[in-house]
Every structure is written in C-alpha cells, then in structure tokens.
C-alpha cells in the first residue's frame, strides 16, 4: 500500500510515492536523495536524524513520511543559502564543533532552530535545547562554544 505525498523540502515542492511504513528519514535519504540527515540510534534519542518540520525540530527516524504530507521540511542541506554556509555551520568549523561529523547535521539543524528561537542563549538554554543531540567524539565542549560563537557573531 503506497501513497503519493506532497511536501516542501528546503523550499522546493516535492512529490513522492512511498509505502506507508516509510519513515520520514528514509524518505528524505532514499527517495529524495538527501543523505545529510543520518540514522544513528533509530529510536529518537541521538538526534542524528533531526530535521525541522514546519520550523520545529523532530526526530525523522520515528516520524512516518505520510505525516509530513502537506508540510514543510528543512534538512541540513537547506541551511546553505546562496552557496554560503549558514553562520551556525561556519561557527562549527571555526570552533571545532565536529570531529567525525556524523552527528553534525543534526547538531547544526538543532542549533539553527535554537538561535531562531533564542538569539542570545545562555549556557543553560543551550544545554536544555541541545540535550537530545548526542555526540561521541567532541565531549560537547566545542559544540557549546560553536553555538556561542554563532550567537555572538549574529549580534555583532
């Protein structure tokens, strides 16, 4: 049993026919070729699959693709604008906020959503917002620095 769904992905209208059991993550990665979002834990805990659904962070690995029918999805690929990195992405490079990079798409999507909601977040606010984004390489210190750097730069 398949269904044709219509969703806006990174500003572009996409139509795709998928079986009901297809998760939003698998739809993005396999049906739409957007492999930036990753499957890590597969149970919504690690955040590697984070995308924005109508501007709000969700775990796409436990969302059904059909539930995104008629909605807007933003993935890490949508953060780049005019061939330039989003300030959050640039900050992660400059402050060493990534190592292996597998959690990084989820981290930058979540961080972008954070700075959209709270442009000048405190340390506590950063840790609250980013709790669901696990990282095994960095120990988080440089992730926090990266977000603080991005926030500082957009204030300047």
């Amino acid at each position: 049993m398949t269904r044709k769904i219509r969703l806006t992905v990174n500003g572009t209208a996409r139509t795709v026919e998928i079986p009901m059991y297809r998760t939003l993550l698998d739809c993005l990665r396999n049906d739409l070729g957007l492999t930036g979002s990753k499957e890590g834990c597969g149970v919504g805990v690690c955040g590697a699959c984070t995308v924005l659904l109508d501007g709000k962070m969700i775990s796409s690995c436990i969302a059904l693709a059909v539930s995104a029918d008629g909605h807007e999805v933003t993935t890490v690929e949508g953060l780049v604008g005019d061939e330039r990195l989003h300030p959050v992405q640039q900050a992660f490079i400059d402050a060493g906020g990534f190592q292996c990079g597998i959690c990084t798409p989820g981290q930058v999507v979540s961080a972008k959503a954070l700075l959209d909601a709270i442009p000048n977040p405190s340390d506590v606010e950063i840790r609250d917002w980013m709790l669901g984004n696990l990282c095994r390489c960095t120990g988080y210190y440089k992730i926090i620095e990266s977000i603080q750097t991005a926030a500082q730069r957009s204030r300047a």
Binding site: Q89, I93, G101
Partner: protein, 728 residues
C-alpha cells in the same frame, strides 16, 4: 622553536562537507539497482541448528535472495584469529549471531523477510561467566580452538583464547621482601564504543568481476586483505573506496557484514547495502571487553612497591575474531604496572571464550579496565599505609631509564611534572568547600602508536600541492594535521595543500587508523615525501633560474617537458621508541548522602605531549576521550544476563549528554621530543583511561565508600553508605 603552520589552530579541511551534510558515509552511498541486506540473528546463546526453512521468506514479494551457511563456502573470518563463520553453520554460540541473510528491495521488506525464516534449534549448555568458563568441565565454546588459523599456541583450557604475560624480575623474591601485601579485585562492565554511525557497507560487483566496496572501516588495506581471504578472491579483484567514518573508537576494523553483502551481490547480480540497526550493534557489534582484575602488591616499609602480580580475565565472548593484535589479546593489560617502577612483576591476562557477544577493540583496548583497577588499588594501599595518595605515587613513579612491563626503557620521562601540574591546577591541597566533597587522582601513560603508511605529494600547475594518502579520517582531524605538516615543510599555507583520498588500488599497503598512530606514521610519511618534493623543486628552480617560491611557473615548466614534480615516501615506524606520554587527572566530586548520587564538580586533566600540530584538534581529542572516560566511569553499561543483552537501545546504554559534562581544566606540558613530525607525540587515547579511577578515588575521599566495579552508580554508593552505617 616556533613554526608557521604547525601549532596553529586552523579549522578543519573537511569542515564544509561535514557541516553541510554533503559528506558521504558508507551508509549514504547509493548505486543504481541497489538492494538491501538484512541478517536473521540467533535468539539463543548456545544451540545446535536443527533445521532452517527459508521458503516463506523467499516468497515474500520484493525479496531477491535468502542465504544460509549451506549457500556459502565454509570459510572462517577474523582479524587475526579466524574462528568465526560468516553465517552460523551447525550451531550458534551467542545471542545475535547471524544465521541467515536476506536481500530485498527496501530495508523494511528485508527485515520483514527475516521474520519469516523458520529456524529449529536444540538448546545446548552454555557458560557466561569467564571464571566459570575456565573451570574443568565447563561447557566448551569451541571444540578445538587451537586448530584455527592465527590461534595462539598456549591454551590452558579450551575456553582460553589467549594468554598474555608481562614479567620483570623475580616475583616470589619480591613478595618475600615486602613488609606488607595488599590484594584487591575489580570488575568493569560491557560497554559499546558508542559511535553514532552503525556499521554500514555497500558491495557491488562490476561487469568485469571487480568487487567495489564502501565500508565504515578505518583500515582499508587490511580490509582488502581480509576480504580477499574471506571471499577467496585475489586482492587485485577488490577495490576499497574510502569514505569518511562516523566514529570508530576501535570498533570498526573488522569485516562485519561485508562478506554477506558480497555473496548477496553475487547471487542477486545487484549492488547490496547492509546497515546495522543500533539494536544489532548492541547485540553483535564487538564492544569493549568486560574484565575481572585482581592485583596483589607488596610494599616495603617506606612505601615503595617491591612486587606486583596481576591477573586479568577478559570476557571475550563467543569468538576471538574481532581482536587484531597478533597476541589475540589486549595490550592494555601491561598497564597493570601503572606508571610505576616495579622491579618484580607478573601480569597474566586471559581472554576467555563464553557464550556472550564477541568483544573487540575499544579506545585504549584493555586500558580503561586495567587502569581503573590499578589506580584504585594504589589509592586503597595509600589509605592503608596512611599516606597521601599523591605522596605514595611520588615514591614510585617511573623515571628516566626505567623499564616498562613490556621491557621498553624510557627517556624524557615527565611523570612527576605531569602529576604536580595536575595537582596544582586542581587545587588538590586546598580545603574542600563543604562536606561530602572529595578529590581523587589517577595517572596513566600511553606509547605513541606505530605502523606503516604511504604518502605521495605532487605539485600541480596551479602551484597547489596534492597529498595522496589512503588513511581515512575517522573524525579526528588527521587530514588537517597532515596538510599542516606538508604546508610547513614547503613554505605554503594550508589552503595550498589538498588531500586526495586514494583507493586501495593506489598503494600496496597501509596499517590504517588506530592505536593513536596516524599523526606519527601518516605525519612522518607526509613529512618525508614533502621534504623530497622540496628538493626536487629546488633543483628545478635552480635549473630554470627561477625563485623557489614561483611554484606555478616551476610546475608549468616541468609539465612542458612532460614531467610532474612528485615524491613519495613509505614510512614504517618500528616498535615503540623510548618516549611515552603521561596523563595525570584529578576529579572533584560531590556525593549526595541521601541518594548516593555522584556529581563531578570539576575535572582536571594534565598531559605531557610533544609538539602540538593542531591545538583545536588536539584539545578535541582530550575532551572527547575524557567524556568517554566519564561515561565509562559513571553511566554506561550494556546489561547482559545469561547471554541476553537487555540494553538494546542507545537510550538504555546511557552515553553522556551535553548536560552531563563537568567543567574541565586542561593542562598541557609541551615537550618537543616525540617521534612524530616536528617532534609530535600522540593524544588520541591519552585522556580516557584514568578518568574512572580518579572519580572512584574522589568518591572514596568524599564519603568513604569504595566502589570496586564500574559503573559507579548512585545505587552502589547509596548501599555502600548504608553498609558503612551498619558496620559503624
């Protein structure tokens, strides 16, 4: 000596691909006609396979193939000892062992098909505890392990995979000399490396029969060798295409599911992708060995260690296949001697077969286990001797010219300096801010890794230099470090140096990533290749009468004569030199006496390092290693009972989150004496091993409760406090 590029905090070269999602990991690779493979796994820890019926699975629409052991050659796989079948043949030896494999049009269908395979098992007696496994009459995991290729010769019991020994002096004489003797036993838990990218691989067979592989594996040449062995194909028929890896920490050096992906590709005529679900990683993903370690130490009247014997049992699970060292053991066992001069020493380390998940290498293999035991033991002895733990250590620290347990002698030893630096930065001797607060220390050391690597540097007509290597970046930032090395030698900026990822077609060999060796071996290979290229450029410039700096002109002039300026170097680092790196750490903790909860208030980590090539990357390794050590100490555990792992979700395994990290102070003692390029040492595995004992020692200081088994949970501290009250 100040360098231009080396030592600069330059941002990562692969940054743009990583932050934009463009980087293609093995699981992201897609090819036309790709199908998905999925394994059926055993639900029993030890059983005979009576019958397998795949007919229902085959008839599911969208399923292209179903394979069992009888469809495959009976070749055993491994990294050094080849004791593991690709699919269980006549029996299963652990819950999670692969029994059959399916190829289907999408991963959900493939998984669905595995549920339609009917297997009849006959239970067999099983053993799970390593002590019980080496007792006479214990159920035997492998009937004749000595017959396996790569099996070590010594086998006191059929369930012993390997015995590793370190000996110095005369143990009996040493203990006779001792004024007092202390013995303690410690236990550490089953723990996963916790990389967020589960094992993934794609195998495709070209029309000319060449096998193309993309895999989450950090040693592509060894992978090619092992595949050649497993698939009975000459190495030239196999090409490993390098991809970035989403975290390794020791766990991504084996074939894992690749041979099955190959056979599915062969049978279906389609490219096959296999990606483990995290639950499969937690059932069958070669995690860190649990350990039971007993130390017995003899001490003289003036607090010097005169003798030590250590016995460690590593619960290796059902197969030895995932261990890469020739000893088929864990080198970290040598840390039973700690950072101390011990004239009479015997360390005996057993890797034991049981019907559990087969274990492998994890960051600093064997060391976090051994150092937890050893550094806790040191503090317990200090307490018995009424000595400050720092003072007890000072009396026994290694010095220049001393020997390690493995016989290597040491130079440029900065053990004392590192300890004092940590204590000072941690304000160890200051009064504590309140009750139920404690401080604890621990030390470790790690040799620089060795191996061999090829590098080629080439000058392009645009004046840019390309460094061609076959070492994947597992995330450490190694590629940037190598670019910095080449830029430094050739007087360029980092932007002028590019990395070109080779495939296994381009070089004959490389040890790959691991053992904290890449800065050393890759760095040296790149350094020497760049030095050779520099000589060529200088000669060419002299011939042309051009300044050496005008690289584009030099390159173009050579090109007009049909020549490319290019140099290569193969670097083989011989066995460990006389230099090691010390780490000293201090934890300050608060214990909540009503609940036993342990909070790390702050943590100090001091490192004696060589020249730091990239400070951001270097610090990143320290921080990342520390937080893994923190998780090992306080949080992480894969729970297994009777061979059944109940923590089958990453949420259950309890990796540290962003809210769990304490304030961290890093102290660096930089000493340009390393064997790496520009006298660099290594850092990748330096900060993880002594975290748990530093915390355990701090907890004992805070509330008098000594935890002997990891992780240190609130519950254990709480009941420890209750026990203390009862005894008082």
């Amino acid at each position: 000596m100040a360098h231009r590029i080396v030592g600069q905090p330059i941002g990562r070269v692969d940054g743009t691909e990583k932050v934009s999602g463009e980087a293609r990991y093995a699981g992201d690779v897609t090819l036309p006609g790709l199908v998905w493979g999925k394994a059926l796994r055993s639900p029993l820890p030890h059983a005979r396979i009576v019958r397998i019926d795949t007919s229902r699975a085959r008839s599911l629409s969208g399923v292209l193939a179903v394979l069992t052991a009888k469809d495959l050659p009976s070749i055993l796989v491994g990294r050094r000892m080849f004791d593991m079948p690709m699919l269980a043949r006549d029996r299963v030896r652990f819950i999670g062992e692969k029994v059959a494999v399916v190829a289907a049009a999408d991963p959900d269908l493939a998984e669905e098909a595995t549920t339609l395979i009917d297997v009849e098992y006959e239970d067999l007696p099983a053993v799970f505890d390593p002590e019980a496994a080496i007792v006479a009459g214990a159920p035997v995991v492998h009937d004749n392990p000595g017959a396996y290729e790569g099996a070590p010769a010594e086998r006191p019991h059929p369930n012993v995979q390997s015995v590793l020994r370190f000996k110095l002096g005369d143990l009996e004489a040493g203990f006779r000399e001792a004024a007092r003797t202390f013995e303690h036993t410690f236990r550490t838990q089953l723990a996963h490396q916790g990389y967020l990218e589960p094992h993934a691989g794609v195998v495709a067979i070209d029309h000319d029969g060449r096998v193309q592989v993309w895999a989450s594996n950090k040693m592509p040449f060894r992978l090619k060798e092992l595949l050649s062995h497993a698939l009975e194909l000459p190495q030239e028929k196999i090409r490993v295409n390098l991809t970035p890896i989403g975290g390794d920490f020791g766990g991504k050096g084996s074939l894992m599911d690749l041979p099955l992906a190959y056979h599915l590709a062969r049978v279906t005529g389609r490219p096959v992708k296999m990606v483990m679900r995290y639950a499969e990683e937690l059932m069958a993903g070669n995690p860190r060995h649990p350990a039971v370690i007993t130390l017995r130490t003899g001490v003289s009247a003036d607090g010097r260690i005169v003798a030590r014997s250590v016995r460690s049992l590593f619960n290796s699970g059902a197969y030895a296949a995932f261990k890469p060292a020739p000893s088929v053991s864990l080198g970290g066992a040598s840390m039973g001697a700690g950072v101390y001069r011990i004239p009479n020493l015997l360390i005996e380390s057993f890797c034991v077969y049981t019907h559990n998940i087969p274990c492998g290498h994890a960051r600093s293999p064997g060391e976090p286990q051994m150092v937890f035991a050893e550094e806790s033991h040191m503090d317990m002895i200090a307490r018995e001797l009424a000595l400050d733990p720092a003072e007890f250590r000072r009396r026994n620290l290694l010095r220049d010219g001393d020997h390690l347990a493995n016989g290597h002698h040491l130079e440029h030893v900065r053990s004392s300096d590192t300890l004092e630096a940590a204590l000072k930065a941690a304000e160890y001797s200051q009064p504590k801010p309140g009750p139920w607060i404690g401080r604890g220390m621990a030390m470790t050391h790690r040799h620089i890794g060795v191996g061999f690597t090829n590098a080629v540097v080439r000058l392009g007509v645009d004046g840019h230099v390309t460094l061609r290597i076959a070492l994947p970046d597992t995330g450490t930032g190694a590629h940037l470090v190598l670019r910095q090395v080449v830029a430094e030698v050739l007087g360029l900026t980092v932007d002028d140096v590019e990395i070109e990822m080779a495939t296994t077609d381009d070089f004959t060999t490389d040890s790959g990533v691991g053992g904290s060796r890449v800065t050393h071996t890759g760095g040296r290979a790149a350094y020497h290749a760049a030095e050779k290229l520099k000589v060529q450029i200088q000669a060419e410039a002299a011939k042309l009468g051009m300044p050496v700096e005008s690289l584009p002109a030099i390159a173009r002039a050579a090109a007009r004569e049909g020549r490319t300026l290019e140099a290569s170097h193969f670097y083989d680092a011989k066995a460990h030199g006389a230099v090691t790196s010390f780490t000293a750490q201090v934890a300050e903790v608060a214990v909540d006496p009503q609940t036993g909860q342990v909070t790390v208030r702050r943590f100090t980590t001091a490192h004696d390092v060589g020249t730091i090539i990239n400070p951001i990357g270097h610090q990143g390794q320290i921080e990342g290693g520390f937080v893994q050590g923190l998780g090992f100490a306080l949080m992480e555990e894969m729970k297994s009972e009777e061979g059944r792992i109940s923590t089958l979700s990453l949420g259950d395994v309890k990796l540290p989150t962003i809210q769990d990290i304490p304030p961290l102070t890093t102290v660096i003692l930089e000493d340009p004496v390393g064997p790496g390029p520009f006298n660099a040492k290594a850092i990748g595995e330096g900060s993880i091993s002594s975290v748990a004992p530093a915390i355990a020692n701090a907890v004992a200081d805070a509330c008098g409760v000594r935890i002997l088994d990891l992780p240190i949970t609130a519950e254990k501290v709480y009941f420890g406090l209750k026990e203390k009250e009862r005894r008082a």
